[in-house]
Symmetry: none
Subunit: 251 residues, 2 copies
């Protein structure tokens, strides 16, 4: 790297790390000191680059903890996830299909003007992103934004629970699988519909749009699941039942 250690360079370096590093949104990035060493930039420049990334919502930092990809996990969500324990992807999808449309409707009724502005900003960021992982990032950020703007604590807690489950590791590859079965543009158009309905203060429209969006993803996920089940069956046939079958009962 003979180029001057400008903030742009550090930024792209970190972005590359995020992208290549299997960004399970809770993924931890190298420390600032390490970034200084690897990029050759002074810490001030590194910090500036990280600050801009944080402002854009791509990463978050916490003193003594580290720098992480994605959005910080709400304590209420992890607590709820602990209470809930493990659950099947289909169950989670059903629950989302139950809760998020209502959240969208409430959001249309109650969100502020600046909430709507932020939603449009999130949608625009998603539009500008190229990488699939980054798109997922903006997607979940938008859903979280809608949930927050609905101003209903119990439902938001339920959403945080689902969001936390979805952030788990085993969901990452599942989403990666389901991504291949859907068109990337479709999701974006649906998002725009949702935000448009919210901005028009149309709760029924927002509910319907969110419902359609989730149903599409639900279908994609189910397709991915059967594909995965097929793989598992193949593996099972290959190994001929040498291990326990606790994870695949009557699937």
């Amino acid at each position: 790297m003979t180029a001057p250690p400008t903030a742009i360079l550090v930024r792209s370096h970190v972005l590359a790390l995020i992208r290549s590093g299997r960004l399970g949104p809770g993924n931890r990035l190298p420390t600032e000191r390490v970034l200084c060493e690897t990029t050759g930039a002074p810490r001030r420049v590194v910090r500036r680059a990280l600050a801009s990334l944080e402002a854009e919502g791509l990463i978050w930092r916490h003193q003594g903890k580290g720098t992480f990809a994605g959005q910080p996990a709400e304590p209420i969500g992890v607590l709820a996830a602990e209470v809930n324990g493990p659950s099947h992807p289909i169950e989670v999808m059903e629950a989302r299909l139950c809760i998020e449309p209502e959240l969208a409707a409430l959001c249309a009724l109650r969100c502020s003007a600046e909430d709507i502005q932020r939603m449009w900003a999130l949608a625009r960021h998603q539009y500008e992103a190229e990488d699939d992982d980054v798109i997922e990032l903006w997607d979940s950020a938008l859903h979280r934004m809608i949930a927050k703007s609905a101003r209903n604590r119990p439902l938001q807690t339920a959403f945080a629970l689902l969001d936390e489950i979805r952030a788990t590791a085993e969901w990452q590859d599942l989403r990666a699988l389901s991504r291949s079965t859907r068109s990337l543009g479709e999701s974006r158009a649906q998002h725009q519909q949702i935000i448009a309905a919210i901005a028009a203060r149309d709760p029924d429209g927002a509910r319907a749009a969110m419902c359609a969006h989730l149903m599409a993803r639900h279908a994609a996920m189910e397709a991915a699941l059967v594909a995965l089940a097929g793989e598992a069956a193949q593996a099972f046939r290959a190994e001929q039942g040498t291990d326990d079958n606790q994870g695949a009962e009557h699937a």
Copy 2:
């Protein structure tokens, strides 16, 4: 203490500690070894006394942690406490209206025959009860049964959260108030409709019936709330603002 160090003595000693020791239910009692020293009893006796107290629900113990007065704090309880504080009764009702109809629909799809039998039994118990409080008890038991039979963990957790909130003290009088504004028979008829739809494996019917049921209670609760607000206004006018108003801001 010239009396023999029997379990009774230790028991009364601990009880005195609990009573005099300002037992904020999470209060911590002395360790077993300390109790041995102070009472002169062998550890075995102390443990037996503590075990009986624990069996009676007066205390609870945990390895490595200690012995505490009252009941252990369930995670779902602390979650509910976290959510309950800042959330308005209307919000909780909205959340129920979002989640429980879907639970009823899923229940209609998935519950077993014996689940249905148990629901009918619960409804019959509610029919046979005379006291209003007992009726409420059977009511919540039925709702819990439906939630459990829906076989969807995240939604069931969300329901448990709402149920826990509803069990809080401030909800008790609110329900007592709202009870006067509705007819007791109405709720029973609605319950029968719900169970009938579930028994008929009719998810849409179950969803609609549950929705109607909750809407009726929602209306009763709103009426109770305005009545309560009126009382609060009266009280406020009577006292002319001598105390803090933290509990009634812009109601």
